[in-house]
């Protein structure tokens, strides 16, 4: 069910990534201020945007789960958050590399954008121990959904708070007054954002398909373990 269209999606993702990388290195002009190091922007910022949107999507799926009590929405929510945490690791590492090259430091604690993203990331890092500390499956899914909704609502609030902080250190390339990206850079950025977004969707679908296959396998084992009519149960071999 989850694997439907995965092949086409994978091909589209690879094509989009190839095109965006080509534009980054062969089309987009060098930044007048930062030079070649600004190329990290086309990777770091889309990763951050997609990760944050993924966290919000996890909250939206959690709302659907709490409303309908259907397990598939919990799976969507869990996998969205899981993938966004992985993307979050990439955001933090690529951001640190960019910071070192631009500012001479791997991390700057008085920069609200960095610290706020770290707070969001650490908050979602607690999702796993929180979820798996609960043994009962139904309660686990319900509590995890409540967490995902609360944390998901925190993400846009956090983003707005940072924008209002008006930092002078972190570049505001999408500012409405002054600065801003020229057309060729904006096109490259939008294509990079699309490619990273497609990658997120593809990996989420991969993960959901694997989880679904694993679940179907457990169902099959239970069905085979069940005793035949009038006979004694025969246990299917367990594979570790």
């Amino acid at each position: 069910m989850y694997g439907k269209g995965l092949r086409q999606l994978s091909i589209a993702t690879v094509a989009a990534l190839a095109v965006s990388l080509s534009l980054v290195f062969f089309y987009a002009p060098l930044d007048a201020d930062q030079g070649f190091i600004q190329k990290i922007f086309y990777l770091h910022v889309p990763l951050a945007i997609v990760a944050l949107l993924g966290f919000i999507a996890g909250g939206v799926f959690a709302v659907a789960h709490l409303r309908s009590d259907e397990g598939r929405w919990d799976a969507y929510s869990y996998v969205s958050i899981h993938m966004s945490v992985i993307f979050g690791v990439a955001v933090l590492v690529t951001g640190s590399i960019w910071a070192k090259a631009s500012w001479g430091h791997w991390w700057v604690w008085d920069e609200p954008t960095l610290v706020s993203f770290l707070i969001v990331f650490l908050m979602y890092a607690t999702y796993y121990p929180f979820r798996y500390a609960i043994e009962d499956r139904d309660r686990q899914a319900r509590y995890a959904s409540v967490f995902a909704v609360t944390a998901g609502a925190f993400v846009p609030l956090n983003f707005m708070a940072v924008r209002l902080a008006e930092s002078l250190v972190h570049p505001r390339v999408f500012a409405t007054t002054g600065g801003g990206l020229p057309g060729s850079m904006m096109l490259t950025f939008l294509l990079s954002l699309t490619a990273i977004g497609l990658l997120w969707v593809t990996l989420v679908k991969f993960e959901l398909t694997a989880k679904s296959a694993s679940g179907q396998l457990k169902r099959l084992r239970r069905a085979l373990d069940a005793p035949p009519a009038g006979g004694r149960p025969r246990v299917a071999p367990e594979v570790s």
Binding site: G35, L47, A90, W103, L199, L224
Partner: protein, 67 residues
């Protein structure tokens, strides 16, 4: 800070993109391991189901002969 020269900036840019690629490759490798485990379990379950079906058939034949 002034822009870094290309040879120095190149190392940082390459580092950032390599981190991204490594993360993807590690993820794909983990997924491949999961897929292998699912395939192995499926193979064992299929063998078990076949053995069970043939066992049931043999039991049926024995009952018919006994009757």
């Amino acid at each position: 800070m002034p822009a870094l020269p290309l040879d120095e900036a190149g190392k940082y840019v390459a580092g950032a993109y390599v981190v991204f690629v490594v993360l993807i490759v590690v993820y794909v490798a983990i997924m491949a391991a999961k897929l292998q485990r699912i395939e192995r379990e499926l193979r064992e379950l299929a063998a078990f189901a076949e053995a069970r079906a043939s066992g049931d058939q043999a039991a049926g034949v024995r009952e018919e002969v006994g009757a």
